[in-house]
Symmetry: C2
DNA sequence: CGCTTGCCTGGAGTGCACTCGAACTCTCTA
DNA sequence: TAGAGAGTTCGAGTGCACTCCAGGCAAGCG
């Protein structure tokens, strides 16, 4: 049981590096517009690992990535746009399976427009709910942190006296 | 003690398995304040499964649950309050390992107040970031849904004409 | 020429958060 | 007194989303 044997409560003052937003992830921006990016460039500018990028393709989450004459992937700006959308959907909690479904609909063309709209609309509802949840938790956190803060200040005052 | 101890077997005509938020989950409310709830009552009013409740205890996420004379769990209102907090932290994406750490700090008493405050404060920052992310995605969704809606209306108009 | 670097594939492995199964006990009702 | 039903434990299994590995190919450099 992994949780049981977790490490001895490190006092982690440092940022855990792994937690980051879509915005933070695109820290390297796109290389100037050549429209043919290698997999590692894409990994760099999306924050996804090369493994994940290949995996996305395998499971049908990418709309066919072009290849160089030696068979290496060459991503286009369109691909990056798509990855940006995928990243957002993922960060907002859409399951990969649903994103794959959406990708399939896009491949299938015009006649799936209505279903795509439904899918995104449903997800938007989901996101709205999540925002509400987060906000209500924020209140609880504010309340508790307040209590802790007060207790601490009282303790510090007592010590100082 | 035996008769008093047993639960009145709530007539649950309704429970079609849960997919839902903390708010929705507590659909059955707490049974009137007896302050000694069986595991299935707690499962019912928190939306967690009995398996999950036992698992939480095993991994140290619960502050020692009381037992009946036959060794069955008897949850108190305090336990339910704790589960409510845990549910919120979970829904806002705190890893179980962190919640276990927090639970340990609570067990350890007063001298961990400062660290608990730090932990919650860090999480609050996290939650704020997530809200911002969700909101920015909401804009993208609005935009795309708009496009789809327009396309659909155009198609419908063409068909109608 | 050999070495390094970067990429390729298919398949296996990992970590998290549950979720379930097997074998058992206890209490109540028919 | 037999059976249903709710509870117990510990360990194993599941599903998701990656993450890594072995083995191999192609290009550039000293």
């Amino acid at each position: 049981m992994t949780v049981l044997d977790t490490a001895p409560a490190v006092v982690d003052t440092t940022p855990p590096a792994a937690v980051c937003t879509v915005l933070e992830r695109q820290r390297h921006g796109r290389p100037p517009g050549r429209d043919r990016y290698t997999i590692s460039e894409v990994a760099d500018c999306t924050g996804l690992s090369v493994h994940t990028l290949r995996w996305y393709e395998r499971i049908g989450l990418m709309p066919h990535v072009d290849r160089s004459h030696t068979g290496q992937r060459r991503y286009t700006d369109r691909d990056l746009d798509w990855l940006d959308l995928v990243g957002r959907l993922r960060l907002t909690g859409m399951p990969v399976a649903d994103m794959v479904r959406y990708a399939r609909l896009v491949r299938e063309g015009e006649h799936t427009l209505a279903e795509r709209e439904r899918l995104l609309t449903a997800h938007r509802e989901d996101v709205r709910k999540r925002i509400a949840e987060l906000r209500s938790t924020l209140e609880v956190l504010d309340y508790k942190i307040d209590i802790y803060g007060e207790a601490r200040r009282r303790a510090e005052a007592a010590e100082g006296a």
